[in-house]
């Protein structure tokens, strides 16, 4: 089959303005973009770079409070979208341009079956009859390697897993065989093992139907697998554009190079100190939520000054283990020792000093900081509460802590959390835990909600603090790249059990436990051939196996 490679989407001098504080502020500053049929372009950048805004603009759509400026041109298959009436635009969307959102779980209507939502667009545009369309849906489900393709469509969204839902959404976008699909971070919310399934499914189907795609993501390794061309964006400006291999091998701009370099950070691995008592020791802990058991016989040790990374997919019991250590969820069996002495299982029975020793940093800095309390008080309260500081001494301590997390005290002292960026909020979270002068900090997915550059900054900061204050970290994460850079020891968990544990260098060299192996091999690498090679190694049938294991 000869494939048509004519220009499909031609964006010229795209400027988009957002309304804020009674002014129109330009958020996208003149982007040019050309996309041919069958081509996949990766849009990459940090949050606030304008990736999603550009993606939506390609459909002739802007979010509320945004508008496309005069002089911009969006030409889709010879049609100028900026001057097309809204009704005509509406008939393009879903039929010729489709959109796949980040969270499929939030984008499907929970009250309707998958297949009914799938057939909505074809029926509306009278492209197919209902039965034809259902037949077509099943065929697409099969191509996307969903289990039981003939039946899965008759389930409700909550009855299938996240990865399956994301694939069903891709199938839905394909329903009218559009010329262009916009993928907005389709795998960001998924585990690594699930991510692979979705990535390979998307790649195959885009290839089969010669569909053009805009692939929006902040994950470089992912975009390397998917895109033919990559465009790097920064604060609404284009940094550079090149085909994937050139871009990966010879990035030109400094900003691009810094993005590429993120994964270089590696902390030196510290060995276990000999003949000392572990700082925290989790011994044969079982725990359950109500009658549902979630942890089975979990044991591991954390020595002072060391970082133990706890890895696993969502639902593997990582965070539950943390809740057992902090005493929020008293274990049903087993105990937690602090420097050899058992801690009371319930946090309410612990002394102030025991509470002070173990602090937590949360994944979502948004919900971890009280939005109505000033930064000075968020950080100052633990210092006041545990050390009894007040007046000038307290202010000095807060300034000192703000210096420690590399934020200027004079500038941040009186601010409120919603006025800060994601990375700054996370730093405040770190400062709050440090204010208690702890010996042990639990970091629960602290970097997974952040952009890579910001996340790297946080990791470096944590590392610096560890060296200065001799802290022990329990680092909960599903991101193995983070583990590689910061861990001394690794604990792998699955279904509430510890599958394997040991020092990092041992854990990252074969032979591995079967599950560790699966996790490790599923982490995307910066090599554009990685996914192809991996799938060949595993064989396509293997994908089904992975699915069943879950």
């Amino acid at each position: 089959m000869t494939q048509d490679k004519s220009v499909l989407l031609n964006i010229k001098n795209l400027r988009i303005e957002g309304y804020s504080d009674e002014n129109w502020i330009e958020i996208v500053h003149g982007i040019d973009l050309t996309l041919h049929r069958g081509e996949v372009m990766g849009l990459i950048g940090e949050s606030g770079a304008g990736k999603s805004t550009i993606g939506l603009a390609a459909m002739g759509f802007t979010r509320d409070g945004c508008r496309i400026s005069e002089g911009s041109s969006i030409e889709f298959d010879g049609m100028e979208l900026t001057t097309t009436p809204a009704a005509d635009l509406q008939s393009l969307r879903g039929a010729r341009i489709a959109y796949v959102a980040q969270s499929a779980a939030a984008s499907f209507n929970p009250a309707h079956k998958l297949i009914d939502q799938h057939t909505e667009a074809p029926l509306q545009y009278r492209i197919q009859k209902r039965l034809e369309s259902q037949e077509d849906a099943m065929e697409l489900y099969e191509r996307l390697r969903l289990p039981n393709p003939r039946e899965i469509g008759f389930r409700y969204p909550h009855q299938v897993s996240g990865g399956q839902l994301q694939r069903a959404m891709t199938a839905m976008a394909m329903a009218c065989r559009p010329d262009l699909i916009i993928f907005d971070e389709p795998t960001t919310a998924l585990d690594v093992t699930t991510q692979i399934e979705v990535l390979s499914a998307i790649r195959d189907i885009v290839d089969q139907f010669n569909t053009a795609a805009l692939y929006i993501t902040h994950d470089l390794a992912v975009v390397a697998q998917m895109a033919d061309v990559i465009k790097v964006l920064l604060k609404g400006d284009e940094v550079e554009e090149a085909d994937t291999r050139t871009m990966l091998e010879h990035p030109k701009d400094d900003y691009t190079k810094s993005l590429w370099a993120v994964r270089d950070f590696k902390k030196e691995q510290v060995p276990r100190p000999a003949d000392t008592v572990p700082l925290i020791s989790v011994k044969n802990v079982d725990a359950s939520y109500g009658d549902t058991p979630v942890l089975y016989d979990v044991s591991f040790d954390i020595y002072s000054g060391m970082t133990v990374a706890v890895v696993g997919e969502s639902g593997s019991g990582k965070s539950t283990t943390a809740r057992c250590i902090t005493g929020l969820l008293p274990p049903t069996k087993g105990e937690v020792l602090f420097q050899g002495t058992p801690l009371p299982p319930d946090y309410r029975d612990r002394t102030k000093d025991q509470l002070r020793q173990a602090q937590m940093i949360y994944q979502m800095a948004d919900t971890a900081l009280n939005p109505k309390v000033k930064i000075s008080e968020i950080i100052g309260r633990p210092a006041q509460f545990y050390s009894g500081l007040h007046g000038p001494a307290l202010k000095n301590r807060v300034d000192e802590l703000l210096d420690l997390i590399e934020l200027d005290p004079s500038q941040y002292y009186n601010r409120y959390p919603p006025e800060l960026s994601g990375g700054q909020k996370q730093r405040i979270g770190i400062a709050r835990s440090l204010a208690a002068e702890p010996t042990f900090i639990i970091c629960d997915e602290v970097t997974s909600a952040l952009d890579q550059l910001v996340a790297e900054g946080i990791l470096r900061l944590l590392d610096k603090l560890q060296k200065e204050l001799n802290l022990a970290y329990m680092f909960i994460t599903h991101d193995l790249a983070t583990v590689r850079s910061i861990a001394d020891e690794v604990v792998v968990m699955q279904y509430g059990k510890v599958v394997e544990q040991g020092p990092k260098d041992v854990m990252f060299t074969p032979p591995h436990h079967e599950y560790t192996d699966l996790l490790l091999s599923s982490v995307p690498e910066m090599d554009p051939d990685w996914l192809t090679t991996l799938l060949e190694e595993r064989g396509v049938d293997d994908m089904g196996e992975v699915e069943k294991n879950k």
Binding site: L328, R350, L355, M360, Y362, A368, N370, K372, V373, P382
Partner: protein, 353 residues
């Protein structure tokens, strides 16, 4: 056709054409609908109707002017931060603030402002307005205007105290139940259900006939009747805040329940509670008025808007508007309070979330 009618139509049509020419969309829509309405009005009601349309439009323009000037006045006299907030406030908020301000002044300085005492008989019953009495006399020959002014002090003061008390009780208990959960939550919840299952007017009548009708009892009874609604709201709002990570962090720090409620939960629940305050205040106000109307509220001869409506109700059948004046005073304050509350809600939800 007289000059008034010709002038009237010329003005509205001219104004709407001007608005259209200068592309003032909202102004045009407003003026042109006024034109259309006055066509119909003119045909149905003749010149008299057009006069009333003119007076109504004038009144609205006048209150808009007053609101605007009052807002500007506040911008000038308030300190910088508050002035910045005021500058962006809508006109309705300015109007609400002005009305509340006026009521507060007349309530506080009632003895100075009112020309006569609230129980002073100065003329014959139901005497019409003259140069001594701005609004005429009531059923005993007391000055209506003076009584309205004293009423602001009695009625509004009582309603305000009762609402504040209801909020202190309801919000504290609600947030406490949300934080503690478990059996205590169940217990408080069921007590509240019991109170709410009894119709409020009947319940207050019952309590007032048991404990007598002095002002202190009245305030407490009303507060008890209204606290359950506040409890429910505070509990559900607090329930959403309690699950946040920052509450978990504070609990793990070892903070006490009172600290959690005061410092962590309350600041995040204020917006809905303030909205509820505006609403409840009006309900309490109406209940006080209703109780006074039934004779169980504020006792005569103390001036109170509710009882003033009842006492002068007979005048309605003679086509007099006297009983409507205290009723209007109640309505105006209700509207004003809600304007201000709307604005506060908009501010707290829009700015720092």
């Amino acid at each position: 056709m007289n000059y008034f009618i010709i002038g009237f139509y010329a003005l509205v049509i001219g104004a709407s054409s001007l608005a259209a020419y200068y592309q003032k969309r909202t102004a045009f829509l407003l003026l042109f609908s006024l034109t259309l309405v006055s066509f119909v009005m003119g045909i149905v009601g003749g010149e008299a109707m057009l006069w009333s349309v003119t007076i109504l439009a004038g009144l609205i323009a006048f209150s808009a002017g007053v609101s605007y000037s009052f807002r500007e006045f506040l911008v000038i006299i308030l300190p910088a931060d508050a002035a910045k907030e005021m500058r962006t406030a809508p006109l309705t908020a300015g109007f609400g603030l002005f009305v509340i301000f006026t009521y507060a002044i007349s309530g506080i300085f009632a003895p100075i402002i009112a020309p006569y005492g609230e129980a002073e008989v100065i003329s014959s019953a139901f005497a019409p307005a003259d140069e001594n009495m701005l609004l005429g006399a009531d059923q005993l020959g007391r000055d209506m205007f003076s009584r309205i002014i004293y009423g602001a002090r009695n009625t509004v003061g009582l309603a305000l105290l009762a609402t504040i008390l209801a909020f202190v009780m309801g919000a504290t208990a609600g947030l406490y139940a949300a934080t503690k959960g478990g059996k205590l939550d169940q217990l408080l919840g069921r007590i509240v259900d019991v109170i709410m299952s009894i119709p409020s007017l009947i319940f207050s009548l019952l309590l007032l006939s048991i404990f007598g009708t002095n002002t202190a009892t009245l305030i407490i009874v009303i507060a008890i009747i209204y606290a359950p609604r506040v409890f429910r709201l505070a509990r559900s709002v607090g329930g959403n805040v309690v699950v946040m990570d920052y509450i978990e962090a504070a609990k793990l720090r070892g903070e006490g329940t009172w600290y959690l409620i005061r410092k962590e939960i309350l600041p995040n629940s204020t917006a809905p509670l303030i909205a509820e305050f505006g609403l409840e205040f009006c309900f309490v106000f109406l209940l006080v008025a209703g109780l006074s109307f039934l004779g169980l509220g504020i006792q005569p001869p103390t001036a109170d808007w509710g009882s003033m409506v009842r006492e002068n109700a007979t005048l309605i059948s003679f086509g007099e508007i006297t009983p409507l004046i205290p009723a209007g005073a109640i309505a105006l304050l209700t509207v004003a309070v809600n304007f201000v509350v709307d604005w506060m809600l908009y501010r707290s939800s829009g700015l720092k979330e």
